[in-house]
Amino acid sequence: MSQERYLEPHQARTRMPTLFEDLLGDSIERAFGEGVTTLPELVAYLNRVGPSGERGEAWTEEGFQALMKRLGD
C-alpha cells in the first residue's frame, strides 16, 4: 500500500524568485567566490559588476542590508 508523502524541494521561499533576485544572487555568489568577505567590498562589487538596485539606484551598505533583511528574514 503506497500513500501520499511530502516531498517539497522549496520549503523556505513563499513565492517564485524574481529575475532581479536571481541576478543579484548570481552576483553575490560570484563576489564571495572571488574572495569578498566584507560588506563594503560586496557593495563596491555590486556597484562595479551589477545588477544595480531594484529601482536602478546605486548600492549603499544601508540599502543592501535593508533589501537582504526584507528578502532573507
Binding site: H10, P17, E21, R30, G33, E61, M68, K69, G72
Partner: protein, 342 residues
C-alpha cells in the same frame, strides 16, 4: 497492531524499535501542517489527531474515538477538546471524555479513555512525546545550540522517505557516504576517501569522527539523547556561500510506519548581521535547491535499499558509528521492555 496481520511471534524489543523508542520527544511535522482544521497523521506506528486551539496551542490524541473508534480528526475543534464526528463524543486534550451527548451521565464521561500525547512546538516543528502514560511528566526537550542560540540562523527541511527510519539514521551515522554518494555535490568533493574513524564519548551520546580531518568534508557526526534523539554534523561551505561559519545540520528521524519515515534536517549556520540575512536570501533563492538535490541522493539510495538489506551485511571500520548506534538503541529498547514488565 494491525488486525489484518496475525503475528506468529512478536519480539517486544523489535516492536519498540520498529515504532520508535518510548519516553522521548519526536518531531512529527512542520508547524504549518496543523492550521485551523484537525489533521490525521501516522507517526511512531500510531494514528494521531492533531489540532490547534483558539490560542494556537497544538494538541494530540490518538485518532481513535474511545466510544467506537471513529477518527477524531474528522471532528469539530472545541478549544482544547474535540468532538467526534460520529456521535458527538467530546474528548479533552488530556484524553478525558468530557461529554457523551447521546447518553449524558454514562460511565464513559469523566474517564481518561482516549490516548493523549504531550505536544511542544519548537523550531518550526511540532514535537510529540511518545509515551503510553500521559500522566507521566515528560522529559524536558533540549536541542543543540545550533537551534537554540541566537548566534545561529536555521531553516527546517522536512521530507518523507519510503524507507524504514533506521536506514535514515544509519545514513547520518555514516559520514563516509558523503565522499562517494555526494562526490558531485557543491560541497563534498574534498577530503580523504580512505579515512580512519574513531568514536568519542560526549555527555549525551557520542561523536563518530575522522581521525585527523576536520572542516574539509562531512568529517564527523554526533548522536545525542537530550529528551529527544538528534544528530548533528557539519559540512564546510564553498567560498560562494559567503563569510560565516560552517554549515551545520541537526537531524531527527521519526518513524511513520515500516515503509515510511519522516526526516527533519535543520540547516543551520553561525552568521550574524548582514551575513545572516544575505545567507538567508541566498538559501531561499538557490541554496535550498542545491541542498535538496543532495538530500534526494540520500532519499533515492534509502528507498532502493531492500527492507532486509541490513540483515546481510559485511561491515568495515567506517561502519562503527552506525553499529554503535544500533547497539545503543537496541539496548534502550531492551531496558524499556524490561521496565514495562512484558
Amino acid at each position: 497492531m494491525n488486525s489484518r496481520t496475525i503475528p506468529i511471534s512478536v519480539d517486544p524489543v523489535q516492536t519498540v524499535l520498529d515504532n520508535g523508542l518510548k519516553d522521548l520527544w519526536y518531531p512529527v511535522c512542520p508547524s504549518g501542517f496543523v492550521k485551523d482544521q484537525p489533521v490525521s497523521m501516522k507517526r511512531m506506528g500510531r494514528k494521531l489527531a492533531l489540532w490547534r486551539d483558539g490560542a494556537g496551542q497544538v494538541h494530540a490524541l490518538e485518532d481513535h474515538c474511545p466510544h467506537r473508534g471513529a477518527p477524531l480528526s474528522q471532528g469539530v475543534i472545541l478549544g482544547d477538546r474535540i468532538a467526534c464526528p460520529y456521535h458527538g463524543v467530546e474528548v479533552r486534550c488530556d484524553g478525558m471524555v468530557t461529554k457523551v451527548p447521546g447518553s449524558p451521565g454514562c460511565k464513559l464521561e469523566g474517564q481518561h479513555a482516549a490516548k493523549a500525547f504531550h505536544v511542544k512546538e519548537a523550531f518550526g516543528a511540532i514535537f510529540i512525546y511518545n509515551s503510553d502514560d500521559y500522566a507521566k511528566e515528560p522529559k524536558p526537550l533540549v536541542l543543540p545550540e545550533e537551534l537554540t542560540s541566537d548566534a545561529y540562523s536555521n531553516f527546517l527541511c522536512y521530507a518523507e522517505w519510503r524507507s524504514d527510519y533506521r536506514y535514515a539514521l544509519d545514513n547520518v551515522m555514516d559520514p563516509m557516504h558523503g565522499t562517494f554518494l555526494h562526490k558531485q555535490s557543491h560541497s563534498m568533493s574534498e577530503g580523504d576517501s580512505k579515512a580512519s574513524f574513531q568514536v568519542r564519548e560526549t555527555d549525551n551520546g557520542f561523536v563518530f569522527e575522522k581521525v585527523g580531518q576536520r572542516g574539509i568534508n562531512f568529517d564527523w557526526t554526533e548522536w545525542a539523547d537530550t529528551g529527544c534523539h538528534w544528530m548533528r554534523l557539519e559540512i564546510p561551505y564553498p567560498k560562494t556561500g559567503g563569510p560565516g561559519g560552517n554549515f551545520a545540520i541537526v537531524g531527527c528521524v521519526t518513524p511513520i510506519n515500516a515503509e515510511l519515515c519522516a526526516v527533519f534536517f535543520w540547516r543551520c549556520r553561525k552568521v550574524s548581521d548582514w551575513m545572516r540575512s544575505t545567507w538567508r536570501f541566498l538559501y531561499r533563492n538557490r541554496l535550498e535547491a542545491r541542498h535538496w538535490a543532495v538530500l534526494e541522493q540520500d532519499r533515492i539510495m534509502m528507498e532502493q535499499m531492500e527492507p532486509d538489506a541490513n540483515s546481510r551485511e559485511n561491515l568495515y571500520q567506517h561502519d562503527i558509528g552506525l553499529v554503535r548506534l544500533r547497539r545503543h538503541l537496541k539496548h534502550l529498547a531492551e531496558e524499556q521492555v524490561e521496565a514495562s514488565g512484558s
